[in-house]
Assembly symmetry: C2
Homo-oligomer: 223 residues x 2
């Protein structure tokens, strides 16, 4: 088979090996390599752009108000996939987002209608697509809840900035468990919010502890 994307699909789609040659070829034929220049719009909530696989770069997925304010739902980095840009694939998906390229981003895009037709015939693909959507929704709902209600983002940012000032270091050498105890929160909550911060480029999380990588933006969260 002559398919530029076979290695990518094989590595990232758990269902790939179970497809027959015709199905694999159909998906390949309906996929294109797309480069979005930094700062451009990659998907508009009014279209069904299709299924995005990010090869390199960074896409920002967000929702927007009528007067132009927006809230970032999540960022897609190398290896990430996006289903919310393909609402035409899943009937149950009636929620639309915008996507911008924050850096120049190389993607493989599978056409929405092609993905829809193949997922109607193959339940493994449909389950994969639905699970991707449920998992993103779970993350986004969780983040919105923490931000709206509990201000965990703000409380964690304040704690990290305070610790960094106290120790005169950008590395906070504490476990998630210890941070949670200081904040009066649960370890799971702190770990998940740190993962969100890390995805946002605010911190780096390693075995050593938490390293602040963008202090100005982290400080903005404390206001």
């Amino acid at each position: 088979m002559n398919c530029d994307f076979e290695a990518i699909f094989n590595k990232n789609f758990p269902f790939w090996d179970n497809l027959d040659k015709a199905e694999q070829e159909f998906i390949c034929k309906n996929s294109t390599s797309v480069t979005f220049t930094k700062g451009t719009n990659a998907h508009d909530s009014s279209e069904c752009s299709g299924f995005f696989f990010v090869n390199s770069g960074c896409l920002r997925v967000y929702i927007m108000s009528e007067d132009g304010k927006d809230i970032t739902l999540y960022r897609l980095h190398s290896g990430d996939m996006c289903m919310l840009s393909a609402s035409c694939v899943l009937q149950s998906l009636t929620f639309d987002v915008f996507i911008d390229a924050e850096e120049t981003t190389e993607c493989v895009v599978i056409s929405g209608p092609a993905f829809a037709s193949v997922s109607e015939r193959n339940s493994d693909i449909k389950i994969f697509a639905l699970e991707l959507a449920v998992s993103r929704f779970s993350d986004v709902m969780w983040v919105m809840q923490q931000i709206l209600f509990m201000s965990v983002d703000r409380r964690l940012a304040i704690f990290l900035i305070d610790e960094s000032t106290r120790t005169s270091s950008d590395i906070i050498e504490l476990t998630h468990e210890q941070i949670a105890r200081y904040m009066g929160s649960a370890r799971e909550v702190v770990s998940r919010m740190l993962k969100y911060f890390s995805n946002e480029g605010l911190v780096e999380v390693s075995r050593k502890g938490v390293k602040i990588t963008d202090k100005p933006r982290l400080r903005d969260l404390t206001l």
Copy 2:
């Protein structure tokens, strides 16, 4: 087969007919009829209560902050099903909710582990469960977006109260299209928010127009 719930399952589960007798019996055996008294808690975010089917009454699904504030995500009425109370069934579902009985409510509850094991073996069931979750998430995300950003709930409430005062009637005899034009919004947005209002018991929507059924609570939304 001796199963009290067969009629309900047959009517509401599109996959029911495709199950073999053993699978049907397994689901039946792991289902129980539960009555939640008005005002009691039916599900706590720390448990996996299972899959809820509402026979009669009304359940309120909500999220809660550490200091006890809550936001209603949606209400379940007769015939509605809830997947978010069974996060153990779907690995991708990592978001938890609370559920209270707003009226005394009769439910059929399918045990979480039993539903999980049968959905692992049968992709129709898994797709059904995932689609139910995606569809709820889509609705909830949409509502949160409208409320957070665009105040469509507030603007629509103000419009309905103003119209009702102007015409001295609780029935607003306008189409969704006309309401949208007055509000400077889109028909789809108005229709969907009216559906949300109607589910919340604030209005009744019919071909004649929109009837205000709970003016005090609608008025609260305008503040």
